[in-house]
Amino acid sequence: MSELDTLYRELILDHSKHPQHFGLAEAEGAHATSHQKNPVCGDEITLRARVDTDGETIRDVTWEGSGCSISQASASMLSELVEGQTRTEAATLIEGFREALRSRGQIELDEDVYGDAAALTGVSKFSARVKCAMLAWVALEDALARA
């Protein structure tokens, strides 16, 4: 596999072409929304989610945005991943994801834990693209903080 192919795994291109949870749900009272932007390349993501009445479980993650395949695929993968998880679980996932992406190729994302999003492991070797992959995750973090 070429260096480039470790970045653009098939799965990433798939998600970017067929984004999951795409299209923002109507905002209701229980929803929290976050808009994030990468000023360098203009990538934008708006992500919305709500926390169940139990105060813990994440539901109805939807998003909208435009940008490179990495940022779009990452949003799609993240939405699938955290649907139904608890706040605490999501926080741990986000932290682990951030750490792996900043590790410059040192830390691998575990497929059992991260599902499709584990395919984003390769991004960590492309430091200029880490922000692209992080965009949706930062949006979720921000949205949960307000939910």
Partner: protein
Amino acid sequence: MLDVARIRADFPILGETVNGRPLVYLDSAATSQKPRQVLQAEYDFLTHANAAVHRGAHTLAAEATDLFEDARATVAGFVGAPAEQLVWTSGATMGLNLLGYAIGNATAGRGGADSASLALRPGDEIVTTAIEHHANLIPWQELAARTGATLRHVPARADGTLDLDAAGDLIGPRTRVVAFTHVSNVLGIVNPVAELVALAAEVGAITVMDACQSAPHLPLDLAALGVDFAVFSGHKMLGPYGVGGLYGRAERLEALPPFLTGGSMITTVTLDSAEYLPPPQRFEAGTQPVGPAIGLAAAVRYLDEVGLDRIHAHEQALAARMRAGLIEIPGIRLLGDADAERVGLWAFDVDGVHAHDAGQFLDDRGIAVRVGHHCAAPLHRQYGITASVRASVALYNTADEVDELVDAVRGIRAYFGVES
């Protein structure tokens, strides 16, 4: 014809490999590479003559001052100006902010009697264009916000050329400043300076020209162009980081109140007030970028020795070759593909592939291009996109490199699975 092989030998970085491929550096519009001669000039200065300039009586200080002022004369001469009309800055962004703030200071009643001629009143208009780099846009937005002046924009036609008819309508008796770029860093088109200067002159407005993308690529004679002020950045013209120039017509510079204040720009200082030196020192508060200025002088000597006419011809030929290759590729749209004089850069959009992905694909082949909005977000919005790919050449690029780019671009859409 340029002896490009010989030129390349002066640029050590061009021998680097990227991802196992020889570096093809097509991002000189962002920052140019620097020849050995520039690095050597700065090194020699720092290891033989370095001392505080304009401030000491000792031998080293006198030597350093002479070298520093010689550098000013050299760089000024390169852009067609007398030495005393060139102000050192840290770069073009700083030069444009200097103008914005100094005009703001004139408006606030600072400066000498002739500074009043620069003061803005609410209702006065500042005219810029729709194709500017943020550096020639936001400082004017801020000046307008601080003074109550109104900001207006000369629109661009679909092909990227400025709409001069609209400019004629926009520029009127309320216009006090007309700020425009000589060459856009996205479109590469050389703008009609004479026409804009004439429109401004009719109404007595100050002209400010952003020469960032022309200074390294065209023979430049600022006095002949007739603009009041112009700015450029050293790092884009084979020079070091941390230095740039602000040119001003003598009477305009003279009228301008200070911007940065501090040491070396004053005559008399008490605890409560200060009097200021004439230009250019009035605008050079504190320790100047002495090493970078001496490096920049070496850079323009290098450019002069090769010859700006020949550089321009070489780069135009490369740009033409690039255009010929790119327009054949399905799904590629060139921005600013007008029949106009231009410098050696093309920005383009790849249908169905985000610029960031396209750039990554090229990087994998060792080709360094710029992706994003290139600090010209409004212009990209006009083209309906948020980002583009930009390939820009300098005197050290070759036809082979252009061909490699074209070849690689041909593969982008297939790699990302976009049908053409």
